[in-house]
């Protein structure tokens, strides 16, 4: 089931204004209900649930696993629809997105060397970090190899929301990547906030290994070298659901810069994935490739 009712309503002439009036709480409720139905009747959803359960069957009791599977499916749905919610619920974001640890970011910025927020790739709602912080007045730069289409981003997040954040994308070409890294260095030198989500690989340096459920994957160490060059404080940042069914962006205290930075981040990341596996989006590849891990 690739399209939610709220998305259909918002794209149907005559119903858009009605869809815009839906309170976020109802959006979340409706998402949970539709996921429950989808899990019963839609083979694609059921397949994703089975993979998640197959990987984590030994880790949780059946009741807990069932609840986590539901949260996992809700998270997948919300991840797709979050921009719709964002684009249409002007002024209500405080109802459904909380920030914890913003004081760490403020203190880091006071040092004058900018701040790096680092999230896990394919995990949680990290794509909300830049728009949320931009709305709170931070100058945010999102680094990565996607998001090159500015028009598409504007249509998703809204023109106004993009004033304070931009995407530092790279095309894969060597010199273009160097330009992107230089842009990140310049943004940090101007005391900006840079948000990145380093990719993981199934081979790499043991210092960058993230462990989860007996498996490992390895972080791209280059990002940590870049931040070492820039001497900017690095703050882990994760966005997951909370017990009140809101989304919580958690900003951690800065990591110590040096050879152990990647290791320290990998440990925090590992802790999140172990405690909240339902916010991961790599379970299919974990399941399919599990012989290789």
């Amino acid at each position: 089931m690739n399209s939610s009712l709220i998305r259909v309503l918002q794209q149907t002439p005559g119903f858009r204004s009605l869809a815009l009036r839906v309170h976020p709480i109802w959006f979340f409720r409706f998402t949970r209900w539709s996921v429950t139905l989808s899990n019963w009747f839609w083979p694609g959803t059921r397949g994703r649930a089975r993979i998640f359960e197959a990987v984590l069957r030994d880790q949780f009791n059946s009741k807990d696993l069932r609840a986590r599977t539901h949260r996992y499916l809700v998270h997948l749905r919300l991840f797709k629809d979050i921009e719709i919610a964002w684009n249409n619920w002007e002024g209500r974001r405080g109802d459904w997105i909380l920030i914890e640890g913003e004081s760490h970011l403020q203190r880091a910025i006071e040092q004058g060397k900018g701040a790096v927020l680092i999230s896990s790739h394919n995990y949680g709602f990290s794509k909300l970090v830049a728009p949320v912080l931009a709305q709170r007045g931070y100058k945010v730069h999102r680094g990565g190899n996607g998001g090159a289409k500015a028009d598409l981003r504007r249509s998703r997040w809204g023109e106004k929301e993009q004033v304070n954040w931009n995407y530092l994308h790279y095309k894969g070409d060597y010199w273009h990547r160097v330009q992107q890294l230089k842009a990140i260095q310049r943004a940090l030198a101007a005391n900006g906030v840079v948000h990145v989500s380093p990719r993981g690989f199934n081979k790499g340096d043991e210092d960058t290994a993230t462990e989860f459920f007996g498996r490992k994957y390895y972080l791209d160490p280059n990002w940590f070298r870049v931040f070492q060059i820039c001497q900017a404080p690095i703050l882990p940042c994760f966005a997951v659901g909370n017990a009140d069914r809101q989304i919580k962006i958690v900003i951690h205290p800065p990591l110590t810069l040096g050879k152990t930075t990647a290791r320290a981040f990998a440990e925090i990341q590992s802790d999140y994935i172990t405690r909240f596996p339902e916010y991961g989006r790599l379970w299919k590849s974990v399941y399919v490739d599990r012989g290789k891990w």
Binding site: Y174, W175, R177, V178, Q179, L181, K182, R225, V226, I229
Partner: protein, 85 residues
């Protein structure tokens, strides 16, 4: 002046690559930088930041290209140009 810049660039390259400084003269030929010289993009960034600090110049995005940074010879020429020496 040019000789001095060549020496400084050679020292920076050696520091970042971790090799002993190689003379940037015509008998040995210029060192290749960028991907052709075995620099990954992070090392090239490190070199750019070091060059900016050492020579007091600002390197813009559109100046980051093999024409300016593809070899020590190109880099020296670029620094001279930026400094207006």
């Amino acid at each position: 002046m040019v000789r001095q810049i060549e020496k400084q660039v050679a020292a920076l390259v050696a520091r970042i690559l971790g090799d002993p400084p190689a003379p940037a003269n015509s008998s040995n030929g210029p060192l290749l930088l960028g991907s052709a010289g075995g620099f990954d993009s992070t090392k090239t960034l490190e070199l750019i930041v070091a060059v900016e600090q050492e020579f007091g110049i600002v390197i813009d995005d559109d100046e980051i290209s093999p024409d300016n940074l593809g070899s020590t010879e190109n880099l020296v020429r670029f620094i001279i140009l930026k400094q207006g020496v």
